[in-house]
């Protein structure tokens, strides 16, 4: 196995995530895209870990941290989406262009 094959795969997933982030209108789907990007990061961490083989499995530890933080992010993100939905009856980012002149 080559290291780069994993890295390229992760890059592709990351690019998909960016595409989704920029194109999707529904906020839940945007969050899904963010998850995809975080997942790509995890692949990178694990792949590098298997090359460097640190005695403390640092790459894997950080992958676990990323997963934890991602879980927290989903929780807060969905709560925010929920609140916005409740107040504005819509989960579309297009309807949220309040931050402007």
């Amino acid at each position: 196995m080559l290291l780069s094959q994993f890295l390229v795969l992760a890059a592709a997933l990351f690019a998909f995530g960016i595409y989704g982030l920029l194109v999707r209108r529904n906020m839940v789907l945007i969050l899904l895209s963010v998850e995809l990007m975080l997942n790509a990061v995890n692949i990178n961490l694990i792949a590098f870990e298997s090359v460097l083989v640190s005695s403390e499995a640092i790459g894997q530890v950080f992958a676990i941290f990323v997963i934890t933080v991602a879980a927290a992010e989903v929780g807060i993100g969905l709560a925010i989406v929920l609140m916005i939905f409740r107040n504005r009856k819509s989960a579309n980012v297009d309807d949220l262009s309040l931050m402007r002149w």
Binding site: I18, V23, S97, R100
Partner: protein, 683 residues
């Protein structure tokens, strides 16, 4: 998979066989070896009450009482053994280890400090439980109340019996959890739920300090065992010395959260939402004393290494003992008067321990536990009969409730430091401060004694004298409520004799000897002889406070009738709003903004105005010059041109501010790409 299974086996075997036992001087024999039963019984009671409670006559209350009664046997025997020669023993079971170094153990430590706390928790706990049998009769969810109450006592015993910081944290969190259940016991009322949340979250914030401090100290020493930490501190181990200040400060943060010291005191008055027996137990023996206990348990760390943290502790303690005590003067809710008084007394203990008076602080904890439990149970008895917490609904109860009245008087005198137990312990704290040369702190403490006596005189007068202002006819409480009061009144009156300097009661010794039974010397500066000067001043100030309080709130005095109009202009509004600390704590923003804004306002009013006026005059002269000579002659034109340019640029740029997040994100990604390209190809 195989590996993890065998690890489980190892754990089971370890728990069964590898009972490591450190035998130390005067090991207490069978009683100390089995002392762990005190840590387990309340939890057994908890489970039994949940299972069988509903079917029993007292809804499980008898199980809770029985558990603590058995516990009290052990605690009493150990206390007597400790008084006659000392008991020092530790039994631990290894639960697991991290790597090869840090061992995680559960067990119990039996030494002077923990025995005192065992006795206190079980003694006060038992009386409060018996009291609760009568108090909670016919209330909702009584079985759940007693279950949570047992949990409360059990968690506290886990905490005080902990041989290491890890178990202490387990008990610590258990106490917090049980208090959350009990404060929000009447959850039908949303304010009680909010009070529970406030207590829990305030404590949680402080707990982060405790956990981080425990990690720091444990990793530095290589063990969480208190004995190991004590020795490391005693020997001045360099790895512990390196982290002692930070670790000590973090641990202290945890302690002031649990002990409701300034500025974490905000949760305690709200915690009065729980049933009164809960308040009594919480204020006397469990919960709030945990912080003081932690400081006493970790005392060698502060004594030998973290000297600089003690300054912080003294400052916080002094602010608390005086500032929060003042709040009790304006409270109308009888339980809040007592709550603020507790916070203030805990400030005394913290300050004493910080000043090096390990014994003085713990002795005050002991006496305070007895008289504060007495006062709270007395308040509960009054509330039980008046059906109101407000002192404005009481008055004249002396004639209706003689037993409650007389026991209350005992408690009030003890708390005020007039003659009874509180006098002796408070005097020792003053003596320690005097000996350490902390004269400012000493005078503030004496002023605090005045305040204490003042608000107790006020409360006594409002509750028991004058005419009854509430509804219905009050009556003396049933015997099951008054008997614990009478029993508690005995130690509240006499506990002071347990530690009169130089006096050693035959068969009991004194508290100084009890508490000296620790692994390393505590270096107690406690005076051998009574400091008659300070004692006299303390007593005189306390009597003065009581007299002044009585004169102002005397039932015949006009001021009691219209006591709302008796106000010290600036102070009282400030106190009514509790120094605005609760308001500040409502949000971090407010917390930062408030004082800052006020400071800025102050500088604005007093400093800047002067400067501004001076500078203003100068500038005005300059302005006249500039206007007349420069401005009018053509600069205007330039500025008009510039503003037109700005206007035009704005109308172009504002199109970019679309408010569409994804456009921003796209710009962000493009920016990242450009930056990466720059780094890769150019630099």
């Amino acid at each position: 998979m195989v590996a993890s299974l065998s690890a489980l086996y190892n754990l089971a075997i370890l728990a069964a066989e590898d009972v490591s036992e450190e035998v130390l001087a005067g090991d207490g024999g069978w009683w100390a070896d089995t002392a762990g039963i005190m840590l387990i019984l309340p939890f057994v009671a908890f489970a039994l009450i949940l299972i069988f409670g509903k079917k029993l006559k007292h809804k499980g209350g008898e199980i809770a009482v029985a558990a603590l009664a058995i516990n009290l046997v052990w605690a009493t025997v150990l206390l007597l053994m400790n008084a006659n020669g000392g008991v020092l023993d530790q039994t631990t079971f290894e639960i697991g280890r991290i790597g090869s170094g840090l061992v995680f153990e559960l067990g119990w430590v039996v030494d002077g400090l923990s025995i005192l706390m065992f006795f206190l928790v079980n003694f006060v706990g038992l009386l409060v439980f018996v009291y609760a049998l009568g108090y909670m009769k016919g209330d909702v969810r009584v079985d759940w109340f007693f279950a949570a109450f047992s949990l409360f006592a059990g968690a506290m015993l886990i905490l005080v019996g902990a041989p290491n910081l890890v178990q202490l944290i387990i008990g610590w969190e258990g106490v917090g959890l049980a208090s959350y259940f009990l404060i929000g016991f009447y959850w039908e009322d949303i304010t009680n739920v909010k009070a529970g949340n406030k207590a829990f979250l305030t404590n949680k914030v402080a707990d982060v300090g405790l956990i981080l401090g425990a990690i720091l100290v444990g990793v530095a020493v290589g063990s969480w065992d208190f004995g190991a930490i004590d020795f490391a501190a005693f020997e001045g181990a360099p790895e512990l010395a390196a982290v002692a200040s930070v670790g000590g400060l973090l641990l202290f943060l945890g302690a002031i959260g649990k002990s409701a010291q300034f500025p974490f005191h905000i949760w305690l008055p709200d915690a009065m939402a729980g049933p009164t027996p809960v308040s009594a137990l919480m204020h006397a023996a469990t919960m709030v004393t945990a912080g003081v206990y932690l400081m006493a348990r970790m005392f060698p760390l502060f004594q030998y290494l973290a000297q600089n943290v003690r300054i912080v502790m003294i400052v916080i303690g002094t602010i608390t003992l005086f500032g929060i005590g003042l709040l009790a003067i304006v409270a109308d809710d009888i339980k809040k008067v007592l709550a603020y008084s507790t916070v203030s007394q805990l400030g005394y203990m913290m300050t004493a321990i910080a000043a090096g008076g390990y014994t003085a602080g713990m002795f005050h904890l002991l006496t305070h536990a007895t008289f504060k439990a007495l006062l709270f149970l007395g308040a509960g008895s009054v509330i039980h009969s008046v059906h109101s917490n407000n002192m404005s609904d009481m008055g004249g109860l002396r004639k209706f409730m003689p037993t409650t009245y007389w026991t209350w008087i005992v408690g009030a005198l003890a708390l005020s430091g007039i003659g009874l137990s509180g006098f002796w312990s408070k005097d020792e704290i003053l003596a320690v401060m005097g000996e350490k040369g902390l004269s400012i702190v000493l005078w503030i403490s004496i002023a605090g004694a005045f305040v204490t006596a003042f608000y107790m005189a006020r409360a006594t007068s409002l509750i028991f004298f004058g005419t009854y202002k509430g509804e219905g006819t009050p009556h003396e409480s049933p015997r099951i409520l008054t008997v614990p009061l009478v029993i508690l009144a005995v130690p509240a009156a006499l506990a002071g004799f347990l530690n009169i300097p130089g006096l050693s009661i035959p068969g009991l010794g004194n508290v100084t000897e009890w508490l000296a039974v620790r692994l390393v010397p505590m270096g107690d500066p406690h005076a051998v002889a009574i400091n008659f000067g300070l004692a006299g001043i303390g007593l005189g100030v306390a009597i003065l406070g009581a007299v002044v309080g009585w004169l102002i709130y005397h039932p015949d005095a006009e001021t009691q009738l219209e006591r709302d109009s008796f106000e010290i202009p600036v102070l009282y509004p400030l106190l009514r709003r509790k120094y605005y600390i609760d308001d500040l704590a409502l949000g971090i923003v407010a917390f930062v903004k408030g004082p800052l804004a006020r400071f800025v306002d102050w500088t604005n009013t007093y400093v800047l105005d002067g400067i501004v006026n001076g500078v203003g005059g100068l500038v005005k002269g300059l302005g006249v010059f500039v206007y007349d000579t420069l401005d009018q002659r053509g600069v205007d034109g330039v500025f008009n041109g510039l503003s037109a340019a700005t206007d035009g640029a704005g109308s172009v740029v504002r199109r970019w501010q679309s408010g569409r997040i994804q456009q921003y994100a796209a710009s962000f990604v493009a920016g990242v790409l450009i930056l990466v390209a720059l780094f890769v190809f150019v630099i």
